[in-house]
Amino acid sequence: MKLIWKFNLVLLGIFVLGFLIAGYISYRALQANAREEILQNARLMMESALSSRTYTTTQVKPLLETQMKYKFLPQSVPAYAATEQFNDLRKKHPDYTYKEATLNPSNLRNRATDWEADVVNGFRNTATTTETVGERDTPSGRALYLARPIQIKSGACLECHSTVDVAPKTMVDLYGPANGFGWKMDEVIGAQIVSVPMAVPIERANRTFTAFMGSLALVFVAIFVLLNVMLYTMVIRRVTHLAGIADQVSLGKMDAGEFKTTSRDEIGVLTEAMGRMKASLVQAMKMLEG
């Protein structure tokens, strides 16, 4: 097998191996970055919802206390405020969802679905868990969800959610006496759940991966071609020329050609050496004949 084929086989093997390794590493890294980006988005939205709850509790609800004696205003409820704010966001970004999934809510729109109930029960069963991240399939594609427990830590919550007798009458008039009561201090009654679509970041990661691997392949091909050109012009062609002359000299044809070179590299040194060897051989032949 010719040298260049051996060289190309080895080079191809190295390129393929490097390509696979680079592809695996880059794919994992891009997917991890995409997931992290999704998770950061979810955390940001969760914090935004929490801020909305705090604003409602500290600034809005006190202003509505008198009005609440006449008509229950759900705008005074932190969960309602956070949900409504998010629903407004959803008008432009319908794949994002926020829900304060509750096992026993006053407002039935907050009642936990099956998978949400599993999340809530997970928090109820493990008191130390403060956050859960998971993935699930939705009609619009794969989604990542971030969940945090809703735990009763303030007596203010029980003003409306302990018993019907204690709750504001305007609230009972609106939501009825059957739902949203019986909550207890320190009980995990639900979970804040933010769902963020994974499609866009994942697709972006895949596109980046494709572009990266494509570029890598192009670079590998270019290197492959350039190395072949360099190998041929700098080594193989010159060695082949040397071999041809040496072969002729070995058959006694002293006029086959001169070992000439202007290069000072290893082939050039070999050429000069072979030139000197031919000259010595010619002189030796002359001495033998003389």
Partner: protein, 279 residues
């Protein structure tokens, strides 16, 4: 101009046995819309900062709002007709009379009394919203407590009832008072929107003391509702000065029999002692 059904009148009358000089009892701190005050028998244009005197009647049209703040910190806000009446000096509490309309009252100790067509209310330290109509009164106790009793009429059940925070009371003329745990939606929907919020305390912001600007003298039609109320005698005496106005006298003449004081003044001959026939 001021048809009774569109007026939201508030009046302050003071019957002082000791002094006839008018005493300032409060300040108008909020006027939204075109409002007037009747002092004596003359209507003046109302503006924030005007001091309310004993005997004043404050009136405002539909969808207007007038708030009066009293010396003890009591606030009376009219989103409809209302009346503020300071009772006789020997009485302990000022008296607000609300013949019709909406009134939100935030009373501070020692409190106020309120009189409506079918219900008398004592409000020591509470916030109440009242909707008075000629035959029915609705009252909601927003905070605190009040004592309710029917007007002292023969055959009426005059027993006082305690109205607690959150309770909604209704009193129709011929029926006993009825209570429910919260105000009905119809009441809340009809209530002036501003009543759902706390009444603002604005007295400290009133720096000036605007002068009253005369608008017009009271007409007989404007005076008639007061002349037909429970204090008709007092108002007959108060408005008697208007009998000098030929137009007022002409308007009152057909009903003069209902106003004995005026009848005696206009037609003294009716009341002159009849000569004893010769024996």
């Amino acid at each position: 101009m001021y048809a009774w059904r569109v007026w939201l009148p508030i009046f302050v009358t003071l019957f002082s046995a000791a002094a006839h000089a008018a005493t300032e009892v409060g300040t108008v701190t909020l006027v939204d819309g075109s409002a007037h005050v009747l002092r004596g028998a003359t209507w003046y244009k109302l503006a924030p900062g005007i001091r309310v005197e004993e005997g004043d009647i404050v009136a405002a049209p539909e969808r207007a709002q007038v708030q009066v703040e009293f010396a003890a910190g009591t606030l009376a806000n009219l989103g409809g007709s209302g009346a503020l009446h300071v009772a006789l000096p020997e009485a302990k509490l000022p008296l607000l009379v609300l013949p019709s309309g909406w009134l939100k009252l935030a009373a501070k100790p020692p409190g106020v009394r309120m009189r409506t067509p079918t219900l008398d209310v004592a409000v020591p330290d509470a916030i109440v919203v009242v909707h008075a109509q000629p035959a029915t009164v609705e009252l909601f106790v927003e905070s605190g407590s009040a004592k309710l009793s029917a007007p002292a009429v023969p055959g009426a059940d005059g027993a006082a009832r305690d109205a607690k925070r959150g309770e909604f009371w209704t009193k129709a003329a011929a029926l006993p008072p009825a209570v429910r745990a919260s105000p009905p939606k119809a009441f809340v929907d009809a209530m002036p929107r501003s009543f759902a919020d706390p009444l603002p305390v604005l007295a400290a912001k009133q720096k000036g003391k605007p002068e009253l600007v005369v608008d017009h003298e009271i007409t007989y039609a404007e005076a008639l509702p007061w002349l037909a109320g429970r204090d008709r005698a007092a108002f007959e005496r108060r408005f008697a000065v208007r009998l000098k106005d030929p137009a007022f006298r002409k308007a009152a003449e057909p009903d003069i029999a209902r106003h004995p004081l005026w009848d005696r003044q206009l037609h003294p001959e009716k009341y002159a002692p009849k000569p004893v026939p010769a024996q």
